[in-house]
């Protein structure tokens, strides 16, 4: 078995207020070279914070702990200075809102050139040429003109393409895409996702795709981690997790999607809301909202474990739960 490209081992992120509270608590994630992996969950479940912690990008006040291994090198997540070595060349990241993510006072080409300067040995003129090439590669017409444009002169889709071009220019081995299409129109969304898929294949990059959109995940990713309240509650191949979810939370998520697809008159929802960070249940964090909960669930938070024949899940009753109604027709990205 090939070694993982990236493995996150027991990642926790502590917030300043209330003292000691954790936004992410003991998360393990592995990504193989060239693999497209998704992290899904509601907003506030800790998926973005997990991604930021891997590059030492957490906001001041937040502290991360745990180990990160990337291409055989091991890092302590609290050592943000060391993590800087990964940025760009090894791991590149694109973000949700492509407008605020570009410096408003600088032509996008110069921003790209700055990134190339930090990550390649190209000289000034070679950088300028490379910028135009990269813009052309991500499907931007008139790339030389766009390189001189300012962010406010570009549409949302164009700006996200610029960021993707920036990422590709670093030739990273892993691309982290944090909800890259959430701020875009639906039509543009599909274009961007296809572009990402093409680039990932062409450059042999791995991708960590952070999303709350199970549809996109089903279409573009091979494996998925489901996060809830700062923990991974289920993981496995996309096809298996979405068509035969094990954890009650994943079931609930999938059911929301299924009822929507089936044109049901009543939308299924997950009752209740994510527990607040300063009032985490002692037991299973999903227990207050779980329709399968029993009294044992209140006692302790179950660790994630292998469930025979069903991937990994963090549920006491994983084996005994009735067969779920999953997403029909979900095919992993690899079979297309």
């Amino acid at each position: 078995m090939t070694p993982a490209l990236l493995s996150l081992d027991d990642i926790s992120v502590t917030v300043p207020n209330p003292p000691g509270a954790q936004a992410v608590a003991g998360v393990d994630i592995e990504i193989m070279p060239g693999e497209a992996v998704a992290v899904v969950g509601e907003s506030g479940c800790g998926k973005t914070v997990t991604a930021y912690s891997t590059l030492g990008l957490l906001a001041p006040g937040l502290t991360a702990s745990g180990r990160l291994t990337f291409g055989g090198r091991s890092f302590d997540l609290s050592d943000t200075a060391a993590l800087r070595n990964l940025r760009g060349r090894e791991i590149a990241m694109i973000f949700q809102d492509p407008l605020t993510c570009l410096n408003p006072l600088m032509p996008v080409g110069r921003q790209m050139a700055d990134v190339l300067r930090a990550n390649t040995d190209l000289d000034r003129r070679a950088r300028a040429r490379r910028v135009v090439d990269l813009l052309a590669r991500v499907g931007i017409p008139a790339p030389a003109r766009v390189a001189r444009a300012y962010p406010f002169e570009l549409s949302g889709g164009m700006r996200q393409r610029v960021l993707i071009a920036m990422a590709v220019g670093c030739q990273p081995r892993l691309l982290i895409a944090d909800e890259p299409t959430t701020a875009l129109d639906t039509t543009v969304q599909a274009q961007i996702m296809e572009l990402l898929r093409d680039l990932v294949r062409e450059q042999d990059m791995a991708m960590l795709f952070i999303s709350h959109d199970l549809g996109l995940v089903a279409e573009f990713c091979e494996r998925v981690y489901v996060m809830y309240a700062g923990r991974v509650v289920e993981s496995g191949p996309v096809e298996q997790v979405l068509s035969r979810p094990t954890h009650p939370y994943t079931r609930a998520l999938v059911e929301c999607l299924v009822t929507m697809g089936a044109g049901s008159r009543r939308l299924a929802t997950v009752p209740g809301s994510v527990p607040s960070i300063d009032a985490m249940p002692v037991g299973c964090r999903f227990e207050p909202r779980c329709r399968f909960a029993v009294s044992a669930c209140e006692q302790s938070d179950p660790p994630i474990r292998d469930v025979p024949g069903r991937g990994r899940a963090a549920c006491l009753r994983a084996e005994e739960l009735p067969a779920p109604s999953g997403m029909a027709g979900v095919r992993p990205a690899g079979d297309a």
Binding site: L57, A92, L102, N119, P141, Y150, E153, G156, G157, T187
Partner: protein, 341 residues
């Protein structure tokens, strides 16, 4: 792909489909509207000054015609006509403004001298003091704000807040007295030496006054720029640059400093008028022969041409500096320079 892209483009780009035949580029319109606004403000402010001066009781024609009872009604009328005081107010205002722009502020009612001659050297002193104070503010305030932005935290926040509050709470003219008390016998605390004669001596004499006047502005520059830096350093686009491995130093020096400085620059420009007003007081404490003494005498003796002229100069400087700042902003900020909307 091309077709999809054009849709993508037209979907969100504002300039898209209905492009007018020709519209002037953003900076031209920015220039136009800045000029127009500066003009309106300058006219309005000088008009206010002009009207206020007309509230001064007493008949300037009578005062100017000659002393006491020796003047006949006829002489007073002649003076009135000569000075244009029999014209409608708006005409008088226009005559005054156009003459003032040529540097002609009329004659002092009290000192028997042309106001422009009275202003001359004093204006230089006040301008020098304001300029040095400005330098003090920039030289102290900006580096301090950069350091404070580099080392953020709860304690730094408290200190910054205290500095800001103290900056407003310590009046420049009292700081002047404190500096005089503290540096008596060490540095010159009295009088003025022209720059042309002995530069070192000139600077020595201006040092304490500039420090007294500039410290308040320095705290404002510090506070504004620190807040701007912290804001910028926490922005999404800085995070992007970090994520892509751009060095922390380059981010700080190339991205954050530039972007944070724009709002600071605007605030500093707005302070120019206040700074010159403060200069009038600080000059008084250090016995500098600037406009301060002149304007105070003018107010006390109701010498309205003198007071009018001093205020006119300050208003014009304020408007011009703010106009230049607007234009600089339009040049630096592409959203204004290149906007077509």
């Amino acid at each position: 792909m091309a077709e999809q892209l054009s849709r993508d483009d037209a979907g969100t780009a504002r300039a898209g489909s209905r492009r007018p035949v020709w519209r002037p580029p953003g900076w031209v319109r920015a220039l136009g509207s800045s000029l127009a606004q500066a003009f309106v403000v300058a006219m309005g402010a000088t008009f206010v000054v002009f009207i206020v001066m007309r509230l001064i009781p007493g008949d300037p024609a009578r005062i100017l015609a000659g002393p006491g009872g020796s003047v006949t009604a006829e002489q007073v009328e002649r003076t009135r006509r000569e000075l244009g005081l029999d014209q409608p107010l708006l005409v008088q205002y226009w005559d005054w403004v156009t003459a003032a722009l040529r540097g002609d502020f009329g004659n002092s009612l009290v000192l028997n001298d042309r106001v422009s001659d009275l202003l001359g050297d004093r204006l230089v002193v006040t301008a020098q003091l304001s300029f040095y104070a400005f330098l003090v503010a920039v030289v102290i305030g900006l580096p301090a704000s950069l350091l404070a932005a580099r080392w953020q935290g709860a304690a730094a926040d408290k200190i910054a807040r205290l500095v800001g509050t103290t900056g407003i709470a310590v009046p420049s003219f009292w700081l002047a007295l404190l500096l005089i008390i503290a540096f008596q016998g060490v540095l010159p605390t009295f009088g003025y030496v022209p720059a042309g004669r002995e530069l070192a001596d000139h600077l020595a004499h201006m040092f304490l006054p500039a420090l007294a006047l500039g410290t308040g502005l320095a705290t404002l520059v510090f506070e504004t720029n620190r807040a701007g830096m912290i804001d910028t350093l926490g922005s999404d686009y800085i995070r992007t640059s970090r994520a892509f491995g751009v060095s922390e130093w380059r981010i700080f020096s190339r991205y954050a400093m530039r972007n944070a400085f724009l709002p600071t620059m605007t605030i500093m420009a707005i302070q120019v008028g206040t700074l010159m007003g403060g200069a009038l007081l600080v000059e008084n404490a250090f016995a500098l022969p600037g406009m301060g003494r002149l304007v105070v005498q003018g107010v006390l003796s109701r010498d309205y041409p003198v007071v009018q002229a001093c205020i006119f100069v300050i208003v014009v400087v304020f408007v011009v500096v703010n106009l230049l700042t607007d234009l600089l902003y339009a040049v630096v900020d592409p959203r204004i320079r290149r906007s077509r909307a």
